[in-house]
């Protein structure tokens, strides 16, 4: 199990235990975390799984994958250096304890 914390705009923190290999998007959706939609199911088509990786985790999570920058252009909320599509972050043991912040809106 890999622990992930989702921090909402109002500061509410939701902690979940996800399976290794799961994506940050799917872990959120299957645990009913509001704020991640994931409409295309992780096909990099919708940009409704946008999240901001916490500064402390930026290095471990690594850079955006090919095409992610382009899809993020379609994101509903502001895109920053820390922006990622959460469907493209796969949970590995190194990411145990990961903290991500949720955007204001996904549409």
């Amino acid at each position: 199990m890999i622990k992930v914390t989702y921090v909402a705009q109002d500061g509410t923190r939701t902690n979940i235990d996800a399976d290794e290999g799961d994506s940050v998007m799917h872990a959120a959706v299957s645990n009913d975390v509001d704020g991640i939609v994931g409409e295309c199911g992780g096909s990099m088509m919708c940009a409704t799984c946008h999240c901001y990786v916490d500064d402390a985790w930026a290095e471990k999570v690594g850079p955006r994958s090919a095409g992610e920058d382009d899809m993020l252009e379609g994101a509903a909320s502001e895109v920053t250096e820390r922006s990622r599509l959460s469907c493209q972050i796969k949970l590995t043991p190194e990411l145990d304890g990961l903290v991500v912040h949720l955007p204001e809106e996904q549409f």
């Binding site: 009913d32 295309c40 199911g41 990099m44 088509m45 095409g67 382009d70």
Partner: protein, 391 residues
């Protein structure tokens, strides 16, 4: 006026989204979501892609069971709606062999489509790929080396063929039309994908309808025999409109709606694969089969019911198809007769009498997102805009 009880028939991608969007828009009344399939609502796109390889059904569910209780959505799986009584605003439903009557103030039809079975001798022996149950059955068949014939060279047949080839099976695709995905993409894209599939070792039989399915395989119109241990039929779908038709609603290649997705009865809306709605580009009524249309329809209906919004539907259509390692993305919607022009390598524009209708790209998220913006913008498209897409 906000209805007290909203009932949704069909717990697929669109029906589920309508339920969730109603709550997100502050709807406080009762929501009943009725689906004839067992289990939790799930996503279909992975059924012809990653699910065939990993078999993870849990990964398909749209939300966990706890969600329905938390959001006060009365979810009735394994329940089939048999009839709509519009005068009494009641439904007859069948669950576990027992008939029940349920009231509604507003009804949403989200019944989707079912597979079309062309009139081919012996077709009853072929497999389908529409539901999770279908996909589970296919996965079992993919367990051992097989020779597979796919009838239908559209998105689903080709996605399946790509996976089956990758898993080492012998695959033949049979398509009655002279080219692949003819209803959805340009000639150039058809040709590109034909080359790809051939390169992966799939046999393509184009322009040859299947005439018979036998235990040994499939026979084509010209007499060619295609040997197969099993046959998948992916030859298109029919919208599930029978309930609506029997209830006297207007039908036009789907349940006919106005620009606000309201049917000919103001107490009933329709969405997604089963709905035929006015094309925002003014090409008459259209019906789209995509996750984007189903979910965007659902959002519009939810806003109307919860908040009284009267906006017409105008969301930009988008589609995708993953075949092998190749991703086709389409922004906009072109009819099969649209003209085509190559904008750059792997980027094709489709044009109709109103101008640019759609842009198809391969493995190019940047161009796809630019195309979405360009097509959605009300400004006339210039040559420079088109060149900008590929830049």
């Amino acid at each position: 006026m906000t209805p007290g009880t909203v009932t949704i028939i069909g717990a697929g991608q669109g029906g589920f989204q309508a339920a969730i969007s109603l709550r997100q828009n502050g709807f406080e009344g009762a929501i009943t979501l009725i689906g004839d399939e067992p289990g939790l609502p799930y996503q279909r796109p992975p059924l012809s892609k990653v699910y065939l390889q990993d078999g993870k059904a849990e990964a398909l569910y749209l939300r966990p069971e706890s969600f329905f209780e938390a959001k006060r959505i009365d979810y009735l799986p394994g329940t089939r709606v048999e009839a709509i009584d519009r005068a009494a605003q009641r439904l007859t439903v069948l669950r576990d062999g027992a008939e029940k009557s349920l009231p509604y103030d507003h009804l949403i039809l989200a019944t989707g489509t079912r597979n079309l079975r062309p009139p081919i001798e012996g077709i009853a022996h072929a497999c389908d790929l529409r539901t999770l149950t279908d996909a589970q059955r296919l996965r079992e068949k993919l367990d051992q080396p097989a020779r597979i014939a796919v009838i239908g060279g559209g998105f689903i047949g080709l996605e399946f063929a790509a996976v089956a080839r990758k898993l080492g099976h012998e695959v033949a695709v049979i398509e009655a039309a002279p080219r692949l995905m003819a209803r959805a993409v340009s000639q150039r894209m058809s040709d590109h994908f034909a080359d790809l599939h051939r390169g992966w070792g799939t046999a393509l039989h184009l322009g040859q309808p299947a005439v018979a399915v036998e235990p040994a395989g499939v026979t084509l119109a010209d007499g060619t025999g295609v040997t197969a241990d099993f046959v998948l039929v992916a030859a298109g779908v029919r919208p599930n409109v029978e309930l609506a038709e029997a209830a006297g609603l207007a039908i036009d290649n789907g349940v006919k709606t106005d620009a606000r997705l309201q049917t000919s009865d103001p107490a009933i809306s329709a969405l997604g694969d089963c709905a035929s709605f006015p094309d925002p580009r003014g090409r008459g009524h259209i019906r789209l089969e995509s996750v984007q249309a189903a979910t965007d329809h659902a959002r519009l209906i939810a806003k109307r019911l919860a908040k009284g919004d009267t906006d017409p539907y105008g969301a930009l259509p988008w589609f995708w198809s993953d075949q092998g390692a190749c991703k086709l993305q389409i922004a906009g919607y072109a009819t099969p007769d649209a003209a085509e022009e190559e904008i750059a390598a792997g980027i094709v524009g489709r044009f109709d009498e109103r101008g640019l209708a759609a842009i198809e790209t391969i493995d190019n998220a940047r161009a796809h997102m630019r195309a979405r913006k360009l097509i959605a913008s009300p400004e006339p498209v210039t040559r420079a805009d088109l060149e900008e897409i590929a830049a």
